[in-house]
Assembly symmetry: C2
Homo-oligomer: 299 residues x 2
Amino acid sequence: MSLLIVGSVALDTVETNKRRIKDALGGSAMYSSMSASYFTETAVVAVVGADFPCEYIHLLNHHKIDTSGLAVSSGKTFRWCGKYSCDLNQAKTINTKLNVFSDFSPVLSNEHKNSKYLFLANVDPDIQENVLNSVKNPKFIALDTMNLWISTKMHKLKSVFKKINVLLINEDEAKQLSDKNNIIQSAKRIMSMGPEILVIKRGEFGAMLFYKKNIFTIPSFPLENVEDTTGAGDTFAGGFIGYLSSCSKINFSELKKAMVYGSIMASFNVESFSLEKLSSLTLKEISKRFTAFKKITEF
Amino acid sequence: MSLLIVGSVALDTVETNKRRIKDALGGSAMYSSMSASYFTETAVVAVVGADFPCEYIHLLNHHKIDTSGLAVSSGKTFRWCGKYSCDLNQAKTINTKLNVFSDFSPVLSNEHKNSKYLFLANVDPDIQENVLNSVKNPKFIALDTMNLWISTKMHKLKSVFKKINVLLINEDEAKQLSDKNNIIQSAKRIMSMGPEILVIKRGEFGAMLFYKKNIFTIPSFPLENVEDTTGAGDTFAGGFIGYLSSCSKINFSELKKAMVYGSIMASFNVESFSLEKLSSLTLKEISKRFTAFKKITEF
């Protein structure tokens, strides 16, 4: 097994100025695994309720995503309901119902324990650490987190940071985590906590990679039509770690390409609601956008 | 004469969390001409009061900036007083005293009328048009404007836009001008008003160039210490048009380089207050940062 992803599965209700969708596939494990599936063999470990539509499992399997770690609990699937104003940068959460996700306690199969690449999407850092400790001999571990855990479980997060290779967070989280307003000062402080690689996601303004003493910075891929930015960060992470899982070795050059793949996967994702576009891409489209990205940034 | 710049000269009082400076050299014509002076012969047309310190004129002349168009009126120099919060992205204007700048009515010498490159920094579009009409045979005209003129003199601005080659504005101004929230849709609408080249400045998030059907997008140069962002946009414009003035022809390849030079000149500028750093650079430092910019963005 190549890449194992542990995270959430949600049924999202999303409203923008143009459209509203109800109970659409969402959650960090879904966006990231779908994104990664274009680059590598991917397995998910997550929990859904008995109401989870079979068609979504078929969709994952159609993309050769291993769903043997998708536990179906009695009860309802995690639900998130959000609304975007016209700028689409920040959703207002209308409500969150954790449902079966509130008791999420992942148990890994022997096959999953042998995963070489691991992406711990944003869940409680206690859970992240348990998973991390049960994977036998991982080659590369990526982790995401959020403001809630930075506020409430900083001690645990710091312990987890010592065991990972790359932390992927957004700019606000980086500032909160480091208590620094400048992004480079912020990155230095975070890397002193453990991760040798740091990715700071800046939404429509791109992303930055910090690796040892090196910096790599990219704008986002310019889009004329943005529909729904839900899951963009998870999609970025999936493309990033998915690409790295396909590399024979991880060095600065491959990390830079991983940043671009993460960014373009996110750019596809925001062009539609839910996983509509992300689940219907071709490798040719991805490759074409990679070339286009190079063209619009090279000088 | 190569590049003629028409704009404001101010004595700025600026306060940040770390430092306060009083009556320091500022204004769009100062930042842009100092920035341009590293690339090309530059002349300024502007007005100052009788209180304008001679040392600043010496500073400009030391950089071979032609100050023969700097009119010294009886009265006081334009003053701006602003304060930055810790994030340094947006100054709060404490007060503005136009003083002699309120009667600014530039008259060009014969030599200035023969300028090949023209940068009309942010002043009243009526003044911009007068200057534009008095330059005999310009090869390339760049223009900046601001929210005030978009709100109050849109008709005049639209008339000026038809006569220029490049418009440089910031993202908020672009959105206001186009009444579009998406940056590409915004750019298309603005270019339909006249300019065949559009630069949208995004502050710490970089800048975008639109040229015919082409897009070029860059992040900003990452900085660990930002002191004062006053004049960053004007410095960008000066580097951009200054570099272009030194090119034998203007094409997409040179425009892209001009964007990078604009960006790195702005990056130097924000590392100090007023023109402290901008006025003490070497060509070697600029060239070194250009190479560094390439390194951190290339993949």
